[in-house]
Amino acid sequence: MKLQEVDSRGIFSGYGLPVPESILITDPAEAGAAAKKLGCPVVVKAQVLVGGRGKAGGVKLANTPEEAAEKAEKIYGMDIKGLKVQKVLIAKAVDIEREFYVGVVIDRSSRMPLIMVSPAGGVDIETVASENPEKILKTVIDPAVGILPFQLRGMAGFLSDDKEVKKQIAKAISALYQAFMGVDASLAEINPLVESPDGKVWAIDAKINIDDSGLYRQKKIAAMRDTSAEAEAETQAREESLSFVKLDGNVGCIVNGAGLAMATMDMIKHYGAEPANFLDIGGSSSPEKVLAALNIILRDENVKSILINIFGGITRCDDVANGIIEARKKMDMDLPMVVRLTGTNSEKAMEILADTDLIAASSMEEGVKKAIEAAK
């Protein structure tokens, strides 16, 4: 789960990171008052859950409250990569002498948190990684002992030569790591961490992604989910405990298991069509889940046919077939629907589906081909 900048700032601030004061507004008319209260200059920042909002014009400097109001008006309602800006942050501006990058992720190979720091801050870190890898210092942190003093010295020394600045950077990195661990983050990033001309260090942007598996014990964080910033279908899928990702094709698919769902999409593409979505209904195949999945897919007007691809292992295929028929009854839809059920009791399932208008398929390949055909 991605957090909005304003929430990430709040968390960082709580862990002692030096974050400039800011005020969140949902009505651009409040921008002037907010700027006045904070003291100008301020930065007006669109709150959207996509990268590259700066380039898209979603971040502007304002030297007077009037200017802030004007910029907020422009940013509010703006469309950034398909998301409409509905919240704007007014933040106290900081003079910039140097910009650093500081981020924490989980390193898959060491299976430990990894801190990345770079003196090339304020730009896309992936670009730095591919063009100037020597400008990134990676430090693996053993969670058994936490971040160690010598590691902090090493990282701070990689970014600055100034004793006072190094001290502040070390403190900031330490706080960032604490925040990362404290909220079950999968990513915690400050880009840029800024040194001002008077030698003070500030976190002027903030980004946190949360490990979804940790949300059950992070009630406060879970409550920060901004559904206004995601597609409605994704919100609905999540509420139904389905894994769903919208794509641009016209063959909808409902699959059990993430790997098989990806393989199904890949096969649709392989045979010359485009999948409309990724959708994994997980281990169980209750009628309710099938119904919910169908509902979500039908929101997409591009969808011209639906493929249900189930490998019934522990799940019995006849149960699934009955579930599909039941779900089908409850909803009004006339899209062609191809059903492939393999594994336990698949023959029985096929019998059940024989008298319906559902198109049966005996293999995944056949199912994909028939669904593509039906979408034409």
Partner: protein
């Protein structure tokens, strides 16, 4: 001889009185796995419908039954503790089926297990099966046949799909292992390849990868350096858009790395043929056999 589980496996089911634990315990017994006990704190002393004794603690269960393996069906908030407990009780292998364990828990559990010499498979794994000998997990036993193909995968049903094709075409399996779909897992692709390399029964390894991470790339390096088994590949997620999690917590392309294209290229460069569809794996295996 197969890897990880076999006829010497003496299994404890952690969370045996839960819905999933009870069901799969019965399935595993039916398959022939020697399930010697179960653990549910507070339910010690009872016996399950399948006649399995239940203990309060892993320590007691191992002491009383001589178990060497455990499988975890405990709900996510308590699953890390179950693995810790299994390590302390001294089992050699813990297979963690539970999905949704926080990564912050696993990064503490895994080094703990390593220090105590306990191997962990998973979490979010369908389990491990050595056809004809033992099944430890949730995969449908019926689709497997005994043979000389080792299968390693990050997913469940996709593996069943491929195993189904293999078995239907006469290619039995030595061991099939689902390493789990999370970004941080215990035994990983490379560890498994090492195990297969030392297993006499395994002649061909089917490597079923997916987007995310770079274990497949590393596997390709190992194969390039001279790997003693023939390898066939499949990579799921060619059509996955970057930045989106495809079901598995670990199946996500981030910062341009972990794409299916990269993985396929790496494997091809190492001389491994990668199937375009699950069924095609059979053709590749036929050629290798």
């Amino acid at each position: 001889m197969s890897i990880l589980v076999d006829e010497n496996t003496r299994l404890i089911v952690q969370g045996i009185t839960g819905r999933d634990g009870a069901f799969h315990a019965a399935q595993m017994i039916e398959y022939g796995t020697e399930v010697v006990g179960g653990v549910t704190p507070g339910k010690g002393g009872m016996t399950t419908d399948s006649g399995v004794p239940v203990f309060d603690t892993m320590e007691e269960a191992v002491r009383e039954t001589g178990a060497n393996t455990s499988v975890v069906y405990v709900p996510a908030p308590f699953a890390a503790d179950a693995v810790f407990e299994a390590c302390d009780a001294g089992v050699e292998l813990v297979v963690c089926i539970t999905e949704g364990i926080p990564v912050a828990d696993m990064i503490k559990v895994l080094p703990y297990a390593e220090r105590r010499g306990t191997r962990v498979v998973g979490p979010n794994s369908p389990g491990v099966i050595s056809p004809g000998s033992a099944k430890v997990g949730i995969m449908p036993g019926s689709i497997h046949r005994k043979g000389n193909v080792g299968v390693v995968s990050r997913s469940g049903t996709l593996t069943y799909e491929i195993v189904y094709h293999l078995s239907e075409n006469g290619f039995g399996q030595s061991t099939c292992i689902g390493i789990g779909g999370d970004p941080v897992v215990g035994t990983n692709l490379l560890d498994t390849m090492e195990l297969f390399a030392e297993d006499d029964q395994t002649e061909i390894v089917v490597l079923i990868g997916e987007i995310g991470g770079n274990d497949e790339e590393k596997a390709a390096e190992i194969i390039k350096g001279g790997y003693p088994r023939k390898v066939a590949g499949f990579i799921a997620g060619r059509t996955a858009p970057p930045g989106k999690r495809m079901g598995h917590a670990g199946a996500i392309v981030t910062g341009g790395s972990g794409t299916a294209a990269d993985k396929i290229k790496a494997l091809n460069d190492a001389g491994v043929r990668v199937a375009d569809t699950p069924a095609q794996i059979v053709d590749i295996v036929k050629d290798l056999a």
